[in-house]
Structure formats: C-alpha cells, structure tokens
C-alpha cells in the first residue's frame, strides 16, 4: 500500500539529489545612486571591453567542485553608466579605443576587473559574506596613449541572516562592493597623480 508520505519523499528525493549537483549561478543585480558631486569639465569616451562585459567568477568548494558562478559584468556596466555622466560633462560609449579618436572627446576611459574574491561564512567561520574586487582603470588620449593607469580595490560585506539564501547574500555583498567602487572612484579620480597633472596642464 502506498502511503501519501512516501509519495512526497519519492517526489522530493530526485529534486534534492539534483540540487546537490552543479554550481549555482548568481547574476549580480541592483540599483546604484547618482553621485552627488561636481562635474569635471571633460568629455569622455568609455570602452567596456568583452572581458568586463562577460566577467564571471567561479567559486570552488573545498573539494574542488564548482560551487557558484558569479556574473558581474553587466552590473559593472550599469554602475559606470550611472556614475560617469554625474562626474563628467559629456560621456559617450564606444566599442573600441580606435573609435574614440573621431568622437571629439578629451580622453578615453577603459575600466577592467583584474581580480574577484569571495569569502563565504562556511569557509571563513565569520558571520559575514565578503566580496573583494580589484580593478585596473586606464585613461587614454584619443590617440590611444596612456594618460593614467591605476589600480582600485573595492570591498563589500553583508551579514548572515536567517531565511536569506547564499545567492542573495552574495548579490548583496557584491552590490555593497560596487557602491564602494563607485564612491572611491568618484572621489579619487581627480587625485590620481597623472590625472591631476593632466587636468592642471589643460
């Protein structure tokens, strides 16, 4: 005789087994405020190359299995699209550095992610999810020569909470890291020594 409880167990067991296989995918998404700062009198072309646009980080378990695929390229582009127009008089997007030459801009900006790190409570034994991101920022002349090439790091964390999934917590920590990037980038851009010199000589 089939017990109704057994039917539920039979139904749930394959689902549980399947959920134990494969990595979870996390697409970082969130909204970003517009910086409340004065604009620099510059027109800028921005290039989001494929490595940024398609950036995905894979977190491995302690046994070397793929655990999480974190796609954060699009969220970075959304972030730059929110902050750059608030920082500069004019911002246009171009597909390649060469296109910037004919666009009548003062400089070409090329952001890139160099490194992404994730710390999960299960591994660190801390009650927070943490995300570190290291960036390489390049500011080029319209001819493609370097004006400045600098490194920025950002950090975000979110506490563990009951009934909040790991995927949601990773997303929240990444969004805090992206806000951190935006605040540091917006406030430190004109203080980068090469950019400061370039601005002074204009």
């Amino acid at each position: 005789m089939n017990h109704p409880g057994m039917a539920i167990v039979k139904l749930l067991l394959p689902a549980l087994l399947l959920s134990a296989c494969g990595a979870s995918s996390v697409v970082i998404s969130g909204s970003f405020p517009t910086p409340n700062i004065g604009k620099l009198p510059l027109s800028l072309a921005v290039v989001y190359d494929d490595t940024l646009e398609e950036f995905t980080y894979t977190e491995y378990s302690e046994t070397g299995q793929e655990e999480y695929h974190i796609q954060s390229g699009q969220s970075h582009i959304e972030l730059f699209n929110a902050i750059l127009p608030a920082m500069f008089d004019r911002v246009i997007r171009v597909d390649a550095v060469e296109e910037g030459a004919g666009a009548g801009v003062d400089a070409i900006f090329v952001p890139n992610i160099e490194e992404f790190q994730l710390a999960l409570p299960a591994k660190t034994r801390l009650d927070v999810y943490e995300v570190w991101i290291k960036y390489n920022m390049r500011l080029l002349t319209t001819e493609g020569d370097y004006l400045a090439d600098w490194v920025l790091t950002s950090y975000g964390k979110t506490p563990t909470e009951t009934f909040v999934s790991t995927e949601t917590a990773i997303n929240d920590a990444a969004i805090v890291a992206l806000r951190d990037l935006a605040s540091t980038f917006a406030l430190s851009f004109a203080q980068v020594p090469e950019i400061s010199d370039w601005l002074a000589n204009r």
Binding site: H3, G5, M6, V9, P33, T34, P35, N36, I37, G38, L126, D127, V128, Y155, K157, P159, V176, R179, D180, A182, S183, T184, A186, L187
Partner: protein, 226 residues
C-alpha cells in the same frame, strides 16, 4: 481515578513549566548610559538622521536596528522627523559610504565645504546625525533538539537555551555646529529557551527589540533637549 489525577497533575506541571519558561524568557535586562557634552534642542522644521556604522571587518550595525530606532524616535506626539537611512545615503552618495563617511564630528566641517553636501543636508533639514554602532551576539548556547521525519509523521524532542547580548552605542553630532553633543549606550541581555515536545516552542527574549526601544526613547529625550 488515580490515573486521571496523575495525568492532570502531569499536565499541570508541564503547563507550569512552560509558564515559568515564558516568564523567564520575557525577562530582559537592559542598561542605558548617557553622556552629554553639549546642549541640544530641535525646531519643528528640523530633522534627524540615524546612520549605522559599517566600518568594522567581521560585523556591521544592522539596518533593521537603525530603522527600529528611527521608528521609535518618530513615534508619539513628541515624535521627531527622521530621514530614512537609505534615502539619506543615496542622496548623499558617495560621501557617507563605509569608506568615505566622516569618523569624527570635526570632519563634518570639511565635508560641508562641498556645495552639494551642504545643499542636500539643508534640503533634508538635518540638525543631528546619530551614528549607531553595535551588534547582537548569541552566547552560551546549550542543549540539543533532534527532529525525526517518518512516513507516519514528524516530531522533535529536546531542549535548547541561549543568551543574547545586544550592545549598541549612539553618537549624536550637531550638524549646525559641527560638534559631538553626546553619547548614549545601551546593553541588553536575555535568555531564550526552546523546549521541543513534538513541536519546538520558541520562548525568545526580545533583546534587540528592548535595546531599540530603550535607546530610541533615550535618544528622543536627549535630542529634544535640555
């Protein structure tokens, strides 16, 4: 008859135990310390903003606690106008982020030199910034509960107990004079229990809620002044 009597006595004991546990669980001890450095007062057109400190590495002030204190300040006939934390942070972006926020009241003067910051602060009518720093931690967790699921049903048996300790400190900055006017700290502790006889019965000490209530009330009377 005797068996019935025994059952009634047994039920009475269990009920008494649960009532005792509920009463103990309801007991949270809270202490509040106030340190005043300057005069305060607030006009009807002025507001306060409560911000959580999030600079520490392995913990951060919960936004729920900050919201709870804000709600407490806004309550009642003498309720204050409180700017929601996230609305303030977004409008002030990037000046009050964890890495860029002023750490001392003296830094506020430097920040207010920025035209956009001063204008936004004026638009909100912020007279006081209240920085809340702290967290709630769980200590002395003892006992165990085991649960079993079988085709015929499910049930739990056991007992768990733990202590919650909420410790928060609030610093009040006067935006008009760029100085700190005082500090209020609150510490609340309470014991929670979870007996499980078929179903777990959580008897939770409302430690953080009590800390929020006491801190909120104290902050309100502090800001209204004297």
């Amino acid at each position: 008859m005797n068996a019935l009597k025994f059952r009634e006595t047994g039920q009475g004991k269990a009920g008494g135990l649960l009532l005792l546990l509920a009463l103990i669980a309801g007991c949270t001890s809270t202490t509040v310390d106030e340190f005043r450095q300057g005069d305060t007062g607030i006009e009807s057109h002025e507001s306060v903003v409560i911000l959580g400190r999030r600079q520490a590495g392995n913990r951060e002030t919960s936004s729920d606690f900050v919201e709870c204190v804000g709600d407490r300040l806004a309550q009642g006939v003498d309720g204050l106008s409180v700017v929601p934390e996230q609305e303030f942070l977004d409008a002030m972006f990037p000046w009050f982020e964890p890495r860029t926020a002023p750490l001392q009241p003296e830094h506020l003067g430097r920040l207010m030199v920025e035209e956009q910051v001063a204008l936004t602060m004026r638009d909100f009518g912020v007279r006081y910034i209240i920085w809340v720093d702290g967290f709630t931690e769980t200590l002395n967790r003892v006992g165990s509960i085991s649960c079993t699921v079988a085709p015929g049903g499910a049930g739990c048996f056991g007992y768990g107990s733990w202590e919650d300790d909420a410790s928060f400190n609030a610093e009040i900055w006067d935006v008009e004079n760029y100085n700190g006017v005082g500090q209020i700290s609150t510490d609340a502790t309470g014991q929670s229990f979870m007996p499980a006889i078929v179903i777990p019965i959580p008897l939770i000490a409302r430690v953080e809620a009590n800390a929020c209530q006491r801190l909120g009330d104290q902050l309100k009377s502090f800001v209204i002044g004297g």
